[in-house]
Amino acid sequence: MITWFMWAQFGIAAVAGLLAIVLGLAGKRPNDLTMGLTALVGVLLVVQLVIALLSPAFGNTATGSVLEFYTYLVSALLIPPFAITYGLIDRSRWSTVVLGVACLAVVVMVYRMHQIWFVQVA
């Protein structure tokens, strides 16, 4: 795991999440911006997966449970595709809020992944 990439991912997902919730509550239907940002959050998670898989080969290993790390990562990877699919089916403003909830869930999970990789020594 790479610290700056994780924080970039954390920041983008947080902005995407808050923006979608605000726009959704303001009555906006899912649009290119909110759907695109959620898709970006998903793509960054795939990049994170590649980084996590390659890191140990460069001596960058997790300090915490690898099983727990990948459980978070795989769970997080599921979220954006579901949210985007839902955004395509349900064209109401609440669907935009759901995109926001999905992105914020990813924020929390990325943060936990960071803790497991760098902080935990258990």
């Binding site: 099983l67 459980t71 769970s75 599921l78 839902y86 609440w94 809020v97 759901v98 999905a102 999970m109």
Partner: protein
Amino acid sequence: MTTQTSSRATGIGRVLIAVYAVLALAATGRSFVQIVSEYADAPLAYTLSALAAVVYIVATIALIGKGDTWYRVAWITITFELVGVLVVGVLSLVDPELFPAKTVWSFFGRGYAFVPLVLPVLGMLWLRHTRSAVTGPRD
């Protein structure tokens, strides 16, 4: 709108269901890790954790589901969650040894930003709000 969705999966209820789905995913993931890697440490807490995860999944499905039966299932599962988070929350304060901090309901769901404590209440309010639609003619 005249779509054939559940009377519960409408409006802001869809956001509630989405949050339920995320919590179900989180509880399932954590429970999976706990049972695979450290089950012997706290069998009671981790079994309860797994049970909680299953109940969150059923509650999510019940909220999406149509008709009286799912309505009843939603009430049962959401009540179970509220009782669970309250009982385990109190017990984890009184006797921390019994429930290590890492279960979904420990300390009233503190590890999950108290979402497990707030969500059942919102779920019950939503079920009450949509009751009139349920007792009407079946779709």
